[in-house]
Amino acid sequence: MLQFVIAGLVLGGIYAIASAGLVITYTSSGILNFAFGAMAFFIARFYYYLHTQESWSILAAAAVAILIAAPALGIVLYAVLFRYLKLSSPLTKVVATIGLSVALPALATIIFGTGAIQQAPGLAPEPVKVFHFIGVPVTLDQIIVYASVVVIVVAGALVLKYSDVGLKVRAMVDSTAMTDLSGTNPTAISIGVWAVSTFLAGLTGVLAAPIIGLDPINFTLLIAASFAAVIAAKLRNLPVAVGVGLLMGVATSLIQRYLPPASAWTTEIIDAVPFIVITIVLVYNLVRRGRVGETEAWGGALDRAITPQGESKLAASTSTVVETASLNFFGRYAGPLVLVALAVALPLVLGGYWVGLTAQAFAFGVIFLSWTLVTGEGGMLWLCQITFAGVGALTTSQFAGHLGWPVLASVAVGGFVALGLGALIGFLSIRLGDLYVALVTLTFGLLIENLVFTLPRFVNQGLGLTLNRPSFASSDISYSYLCLVAFVIVSLFIVNLRRSTTGLALNAARWSQAGARTSGISVVQMKVLAGATAAFIAGIGGGLLAVAQTTVSPSSFATFAGIVWFAALVTIGIRSTAAALVAALAFVMLPAISQAYLPTWTGNLLPVIFGLGAISAAKYPDGVLAEQSRRLRHLLQRVAPDALADEHFAEEVEAGVVDTEAVGMAPEVAGQLS
């Protein structure tokens, strides 16, 4: 048994270092770093490049990768990204790190070379020496992990508690604004914190590489598992995070001892350990009716006072709301109508293979609309829409394939199954706060991916399951139009919802929980409603996509792929239904164009572009499409000032009752109005 405990402490040690890095970053910057795994992979891949590909010595490669490149990466990221996020909402910060998690692994592949590497060396020279500790064999790599955990925990605690730097960091955690006013430079502290955080990411990466290989997906899984410890630590408690991380490693190892080693279930249960921990913590919190309230938990009163109101700037910014109000019918709806007209023409203009892709793109559009609802309208970050799409696809295949139901009825059933799961996830997580929703949905996606999508019934020996299209829409063209009709119906539903009492209540829940609750609106109910409805939409979209492809392979609904989908949508625009269509077309068509007409390496460029696009959401929360539409409108307003303006709003501006400057409305728009 001791052997299993000692072996478990290795994985636990890596969890502990990763959890420590995540907690330190969150407490000192308010950023829950979803890109921690991508950073770890990037540095580990750089170490492999230096040590294995360029034949540097272990010491030199480790020193350059972990002690120089990793902190430098943190400093660069702070300079170009994180310092602009100081006053952003927690969700905007998370989305920026999600963008980074998509861009960094693709960037590493472009810079250092292709592919996942199964065998990667650690910090111990090869062949790795084995020692015996009370009869238990321990490798030098394992000893390095133990030593790293001890050094980090002891040094971290001493520095934070007793040093001048630690005092300043703790002051900044309490209030960045007050620290600044007290004469301490918070920028210098932030740079230091980010350097330490990426150093820990780099160390995690290099230590983990011999165990999990150099595969970005494995790194994402590792960090998602570390989130279990972070959730147990309520995002802030360093000793608890380290302790739970170690315990998870030991528990995983002990399960290996007691479960039959040959069983497929054993592997799945081992993979599921962190997610079981998360579930236990969530249920415990729910029973205790605990709420962390992460938005309130970070920063002081002054910090909150200078932070824009509202939970998520990803949802409509105030300037967008005001600018939209300034437009007449033509100004608001001309763009989407033109876009739908183009979409109608697309299957007719394109031929053969490309028509099939438009059908898939329209189905993707439906899935993307689920984010338009839950994030754009509801202000919540759900990271498992791809899982709901997968559930929809698999349910469709079961009902249509095995039970012989009509295929569209089966798609509807898939939507309802996803709806049920969405309501359950929403109920479990929404009460705890928005960051937990992001964490829980990510975890749920990984859990379903590992436990359900791997069932032999769905995998079908790697062949997937086949589906037939409905008889009236069996051709690519007719099925494209069927998907387009579904897209338009769901879009109209969302447009109606926005202006209905439901939409008003959802808007209220997003902008002010206290205001909503004291007006008789249940914040949790409205958000669960939005989440469950979005899950239904994703389920329907998944079913339509499966029917478009005529096969369902569970592996195409991997959670990490869903994060790339999300990044693509955020790049184009999370709030508008038109943007969902453009994002879907871009997401499906661009890789196909790259594959057909461009050099191979451009395939890796797309995730980088989408990742950077998601990062830019911090500055342009409405996305590329809205930004370009805005520029076009401003141009039109110069040519024909009255063409797009709402008369009533213009009167209010003229009367001085609307303060356009206060909400940052573009001067040219305000100027034209007045």
Binding site: V321, T501, A514, R517, T518, A655, V658, D659
Partner: protein, 300 residues
């Protein structure tokens, strides 16, 4: 004795006749080692305006948070028209007729002024529409005569008609305060808690709003009661039927404005027991230049 909203769009007010609209009994709240409220009791009778005053840190906003259900007390009870609502959530207190405004406005920045009032009205009177409307393609256009009358009347009363269609994100603070009051009144409350409703308003705006408060209470068929926390002590004393004074989390005085004005403990708490507040030409209370005095009130 709970009252209910009917489908016809009116609130059934006949069910309860308790003369006390809202009561707090022996409320104690601790924040860690700090006692924010210590055994504070309060009674608000129907149709009354109760002023809640006290220096900074006295516990006024904490008491409002307890009354509205946003904060659970460590001890004590809250009664809404005779019903013990201590363990009832803020949302359910709102559906029973308790509305409030906030010191830092808590508006819904994506909505227009009118939408704020419409939403508050529907949340109280036709709450099922919050669920059903998303599936109803006519939702956008469905309004009841009662809703239109109520919302239009409030917009007019608060001089908000001309900004009804403006998104609140574009409005100055003074107007935003009025929108918050409008939203609270649109929910047809039995008790309205006002947390510094006059701050940010100019003198003219303050006078208008004070007259609105008096008018809505006097016009109410259902005995609407107000609890007002305000910086402007003179305004509170002029407006209120009863005044409660808090200091360091304890109730130090309660009574009519005249009684409170002459209360020795109040004078000591506010003025260091030196001299009474001076009236300025504008009717505002001016702080006497006394060392150690605490002329500012509110913002607890």
């Amino acid at each position: 004795m709970m009252t209910t909203a009917t489908d016809a769009g009116t609130i059934d007010a006949t069910a309860d006749q308790d003369p006390v609209a809202l009561a707090a009994d022996d409320i104690t709240v601790h924040f860690g080692g700090l006692t924010a409220l210590s055994g504070v009791s309060l009674e608000v009778r129907r149709g009354n305006i109760v002023g809640l005053v006290g220096p900074n840190g006295a516990g006024k906003s904490t008491l409002l948070a307890v009354l509205s259900g946003l904060l659970s007390p460590d001890a004590g009870k809250v009664l809404l028209r005779g019903d013990d609502v201590t363990d009832v959530s803020a949302r359910h207190r709102a559906t029973r007729g308790l509305a409030r405004t906030f010191q830092q406005p808590e508006l819904f920045m994506g909505l227009t002024v009118r939408e704020h009032l419409v939403l508050a009205y529907r949340a109280r009177v036709v709450p099922h529409r919050m669920w059903r409307d998303m599936l109803d393609p006519r939702a956008l256009f469905r309004t009841s005569p009662g809703e239109v009358e109520k919302v239009d009347g409030l917009l007019e009363l608060l001089h908000l008609t001309h900004v009804a269609k403006a998104p609140v994100a574009a409005l100055p603070l003074g107007v935003i305060r009025l929108v918050e009051v409008g939203r609270a009144l649109a929910s047809q409350p039995r008790v309205l808690l006002l947390d510094e409703p006059l701050s940010g308003l100019d003198l003219h705006g303050s006078e208008n709003l004070i007259s609105v408060f008096r008018e809505i209470v006097d016009r109410s068929d259902d005995g609407l009661a107000l609890v007002i926390v305000e910086h402007d002590v003179a305004a509170v004393l002029a407006l209120s039927d009863m005044v409660v004074v808090l200091d360091f989390g304890e109730r130090i005085a309660v009574g009519t404005p005249d009684k409170v004005r002459s209360d020795a403990a109040v004078r000591a708490a506010y003025l260091g027991d030196v001299e009474p507040p001076q009236r300025t030409a504008t009717g505002q209370t001016a702080a006497p230049a006394v060392p150690g005095s605490r002329p500012e009130v509110g913002g607890a």
